[in-house]
Symmetry: C2
Subunit: 207 residues, 2 copies
DNA sequence: GCGTCATGCGAACACTGTACGCAGATCGCG
DNA sequence: CGCGATCTGCGTACAGTGTTCGCATGACGC
């Protein structure tokens, strides 16, 4: 087919690119959850066809790794300040990211913190620096960080799974709360309690 | 086709049942991981056809819930003893279960601790009793338990994801350790450090 | 012995991830 | 400008997925 001037610039196209694909995938995931993500539906959103995506992304698995790391990019780690509040803020930020993108929880067991993309490894480094700055000896700082991350991840994964279940059930959160299910406010309190206790425990053993 | 005496009792059949299906699924999952589980392959192992399974299990999703709860059945919660050692033992037991069945981690974000089957809800109750027995006021016991579970789940999910990645990579663990990757012994130490710190933090705030 | 009900299963459907090869666009170089 | 090479989108196709429906065959109660 000849591309007349009319059809040419019709769709500015802007061209597919890994970044644009990842961005569109995040959007789709936020809207419809993990199981709604297929190469074909994603392609449809960007109005292309599935096979075109493979020029910029090797796998669906690779795409998911990219998308997860993209989410970690939203995590904020304070650069300075008293260590307990800085670490607590970082923890809250991580929790916020996962609750904002609950599908992250769905793939954590598969992608894990194992394959670390640039964003996650950057955040880990900054977090580690907080502990070192707090006076933890180098090797213990690593252990302390992992302890704190373990708590936040575990707590938040469960919470995200729960929130997604709520969403699927179609009922509003308020309705369910009446039936004895935990509310957002209560989950916040729960998280804060545990976070404080964990940090207290870590503080006890420092340098 | 007539069923002669020969073909009749050839396969004692024993009949399909939900329990047998769940057991076979656990076996398959332990051997080949989550993504190797399809209704057809599972059926083939029990030599039946996929559609027969649906007489005893509503969904693949339901099957997975059942299988996960089955795994939780292996978790041991001590009934008595000083609270810190009892709770620590329960935590270690939970970690052991997940490491023995790493696919549990793969579905935690989807099934979560949200849909609790009989085994999980039983273990939660027993665990809660430990905290209550330790002198935590009733409402705080729940928070403390969730804190501890959060830590164990988060830590262990990451570890299981990592172990599965190792398995897929085909290389032996020893080879990778040389290249600076954490060894089993080190992961044990890490877990124990965090567990101790978390329990210390919880103890600080009790009754 | 007969009707009822539970069970296994063959066929089919809509959908998935992805390999392959062709076409058209784009770009570097003469 | 022109031409070859390389890049990009995509149509087609394949093997595999979860699941539904309807038929047949077996077991069981009366």
């Amino acid at each position: 087919m000849i591309s007349s001037v009319w059809t040419r610039e019709q769709r500015p196209r802007a061209g597919l690119s890994q970044d644009r694909i990842v961005a569109a995938a995040v959007e789709l995931l936020d809207a419809d959850g993990l199981e709604a993500l297929s190469m074909r539906t994603l392609a449809a959103r960007m109005d292309t066809k599935a096979t075109s995506l493979y020029r910029h992304v090797a796998n669906k698995d690779e795409l998911i790794e990219l998308v997860v790391d993209e989410a970690y990019g939203e995590m904020e780690v304070p650069a300075e300040g008293p260590w307990r509040t800085s670490v607590a803020d970082a923890a809250r930020s991580l929790r916020a990211v996962v609750l904002r993108h609950p599908w992250v929880a769905s793939v954590l067991g598969q992608v894990g913190l194992a394959e670390l993309g640039p964003n996650l490894s950057d955040r880990s480094a900054r977090l580690l620096a907080l502990f070192v700055g707090a006076g933890f000896p180098d090797d213990e700082a690593d252990l302390a960080m992992k302890t704190m991350l373990g708590y936040v991840v575990g707590m938040t994964v469960s919470e995200a799974a729960y929130v997604q279940l709520l969403a699927r059930s179609g009922q509003s959160e308020d309705e369910l709360v009446v039936r004895g299910v935990t509310s957002k406010a209560l989950r916040d309190k729960t998280f804060e309690y545990g976070l404080e206790r964990v940090l207290a425990g870590l503080g006890e053993g420092r340098s």
